[in-house]
């Protein structure tokens, strides 16, 4: 199935229907493995058992950034090709990304209390993640506030691309300013500095969360397509009522169904 086929919403729906069960199953299996390995992982000599928070914190933090990246690519699709499926992808990703960001913030704070003695500190990494969260919320508010989806999509796309500047800031904030937060130890130049007993469960969990995102995203996109279908059908119904009351004088201009259908 080529990319063009994928871009067709109807094909897309058919594909999702087939793929979703498999994706969901894979997610569940990997999550189970990851959790099992995380439970078996040894305590850290410095952090004790609290290191277990890492296995939720880090994947969520990564995904918080990854999802914005996905949205940025979709936004390019919206602005450059004006493709409705790109709008759908961007819109469906926002709440999921916001949820992951929220979890990163929450688990980070919960980890910070034992490690740094405080839930919250205004340092660059934490703050830039909080800004990311605010921007997710802003985007969701924007989508909600505007009822014309294609108009909202274009505005949201501009904002998403502008917000993408935040991603490198989050990523490199620990290097640019020496802060409380851990510098990168998994993904950095010159190989990982993390012990295998932590690294493997962490990677498994990260893959599991990524799969979780893909599953949820596809399902949310499907919902979004259906929502647009409902919207255009509603509009057809409304204009149909209009025709009957206008005694068909507008038959030449019969309003067609538009949108993602």
């Amino acid at each position: 199935m080529s990319l063009i086929d994928l871009a067709n919403p109807t094909r897309f729906l058919a594909l999702t229907a087939r793929a979703l069960p498999w994706l969901a199953a894979a997610t569940v299996i990997l999550l189970a493995i990851g959790l099992y390995q995380a439970a078996l992982a040894p305590d850290d000599y410095q952090q004790g058992a609290t290191v277990k928070i890492m296995f939720v914190h880090v994947p969520n933090a990564w995904l918080a950034m990854f999802v914005w990246g996905v949205m940025s690519i979709a936004s390019l699709g919206t602005l450059v090709w004006r493709h409705p499926l790109a709008d759908v992808a961007a819109k469906a990703a926002a709440p999921i990304g916001a949820a992951f960001t929220f979890l990163a913030l929450l688990t980070g704070s919960l980890w910070g209390r034992p490690m740094w003695g405080t839930y919250w500190e205004w340092d660059a990494r934490l703050t830039s993640v909080l800004i990311l969260f605010l921007m997710y919320l802003g985007l969701m508010a924007l989508w909600r506030a505007v009822d014309d989806p294609s108009r909202a999509a274009r505005a949201a796309a501009v904002l998403t691309l502008v917000g993408a500047i935040n991603l490198p800031i989050i990523k490199f904030s620990v290097d640019w300013w020496n802060t409380l937060h851990q510098p990168a130890s998994v993904m950095r130049m010159g190989g990982s500095a993390l012990d295998k007993s932590f690294l493997i469960p962490l990677l498994v969990m990260a893959i599991a969360f990524t799969l979780l995102f893909v599953t949820l995203h596809l399902a949310a996109m499907r919902n979004e397509i259906l929502r647009r279908r409902v919207r255009s059908l509603q509009m057809m119904q409304a204009s149909r009522i209009a025709f009957s009351s206008e005694a068909g004088s507008r038959s030449e201009n019969a309003s067609n169904e538009v949108g993602a259908v």
Binding site: S239, S249, R250, E252, N253, S255, V258
Partner: protein
Amino acid sequence: MSGLKQGELQLHGRGLRCVRGGREVFARLDFAAASGEAVAVVGRNGSGKTSLLRLIAGLLVPAGGTIALEGGESELTLAEQCHYLGHRDALKPALSVQENLAFWADFLGGERLDAVESLATVGLDHAAYLPAGFLSAGQRRRLSLARLLTVRRPVWLLDEPTNALDVAGQEMFGGLMREHLTRGGLIIAATHAPLGIEARELRIGGVA
């Protein structure tokens, strides 16, 4: 004053489709206009006259079809060769009549006529130093017309241009349009009232 005569202009649209707010306004619309020609777009309220003008001006993106101007200056886009006179008159109440006009003349650029002269032509010379916020509806419309005169552009897109003009104003405006046509310009005007010049009719959306 010579800039326009360099060749015959041909403006045409083919198979235009317009969608606004998710609803189709018109589809499969063709039109054509050439130098020296005026087209009066007519149709019921809500049939899409304003939308058509905005499509031509590049202020709306067509959902289908093409619009092209042949014979114009090749390095300029269609929109850059159009004057658009809409319901909203692009005047700043805080600036004087003269300042408003001078701004658009400077900003729109291109071949220009003397601003004072065009104010006199539309009968607003006595009000040149009044803030535009003090103008009556018809005086505002006249000031918008002065904009068409100070900056020369070959295609005029006029949305109900005679609105708010008094009888003398309508005559004056008829004269301006005729002059523009003889100079090789073309006019597309949406209107419900008679336009005051001879014009080919383009009907949108069935019989009114």
